[in-house]
Subunit: 252 residues, 2 copies
Amino acid sequence: MTLYIIGIGLWDEKDITVKGLEAVKKCDRVFLENYTSKLGVSVDKVEAFYGKKIILADRELVEKRADEIILPAKDSAVAFLVIGDAFGATTHTDIFLRAREKGVHVSVIHNASVMNAIGVTGLELYKFGKTTSIPFHNENVEAPYDAIKANRSLGLHTLVLLDIQKDNHSEKYMRVNEAVNYLMRIEGKRKEKIFDEATLCLGVARLGSKDMRIIAGTPGKLLLANFGDPLHCLIIPGKLHFIEEEALSKFQ
Amino acid sequence: MTLYIIGIGLWDEKDITVKGLEAVKKCDRVFLENYTSKLGVSVDKVEAFYGKKIILADRELVEKRADEIILPAKDSAVAFLVIGDAFGATTHTDIFLRAREKGVHVSVIHNASVMNAIGVTGLELYKFGKTTSIPFHNENVEAPYDAIKANRSLGLHTLVLLDIQKDNHSEKYMRVNEAVNYLMRIEGKRKEKIFDEATLCLGVARLGSKDMRIIAGTPGKLLLANFGDPLHCLIIPGKLHFIEEEALSKFQ
């Protein structure tokens, strides 16, 4: 039979594609990868709309006991749902490769992810460079600063993803304010004017929802801004085209 | 009322999201931006599934007569459908800005686009640098070569989009083979070993469809490979992680 790896989009139960929903309805087991991202609605709501019981897949199940997802797909239809698009993290590629290795037929159904939905800011997607991310434990981490520096040297925008810590006991999502604070700290140490007090940046919250919030401004402004609930991400634009400038002016 | 800018995904009538389809069904007019990309099925099939007449919007309508799309959205519901995600080209951002300027409420519904669906190759999305594109008239064009060079200097992958020429009279889509031929020509001139005979590259055809074809190999191999129908794109990987190497080995 088939392992369907299905992107279910960014926010709620209706962000799945018609093709994705048809596949889910055929499946005997439906897993939801539940530790690298976050939906805007409860799993109950998704279950009710899909008409299927959803098994929440934590890091341990996906990375250590993947056979529990893959092997049933040898003789039944299994859905592995991913928030955003089907391939947002190495772990999704890994499931795909392990399944093929075991002779399981894999079918991929795509959807929006943060990587393309940030086009809503008005920044051109083709002008984004490498994506970086800020972990919670960042005392000795400077890679995000280096990524912004490298992208800016080519005039490119940088998407900065913010850490998620999620297990059975607790959930923690990094906020724009914390990310700005972190980058200001590294700037204070490195002093290379990659993220100084005048750097234009964009904080984005709840991308893909009706309640999305985008605020553009200096680090000082974003540090104090209230972005509300997660998920948040941060964008450091590079060289701006005039259409991009006009788009950003709406968020200032 | 509302102008809905809706990404309809990469391939067929069922790639639209449930939310997108619900919005389309509410609309009095439905436009499809029809010159920057290509669906894998006929517009008739899409019309039948959506239950709506679709008005094909060519470059002239979108860029010169955008008011014909925007102004009716002042007092009725209008859909502006985009193949892939809602913001794939500057022209989509422009429609969004012009509509807001005229006091029209705009609602955006996202979907997959080439920018994230290429994750299916196994290459990590966060390691892609600037996206470039090869135009048909490329006698004096070296920007794609420079983009690959800049990305590779940072170890990053490059997505190369291939030109589309579409008007009321004809359609023309650049093939992987032509793109490889073009890059070999620039390499022959520049001799900077950015795209030499040993460079690993990936040709991708019909991304997001069941009939997708991915072939990895040297320029010489891709030059002769048969990728079939459009759309095609080309990827020049940068530095590979071992999971990426394993993924690519399936396409060699």
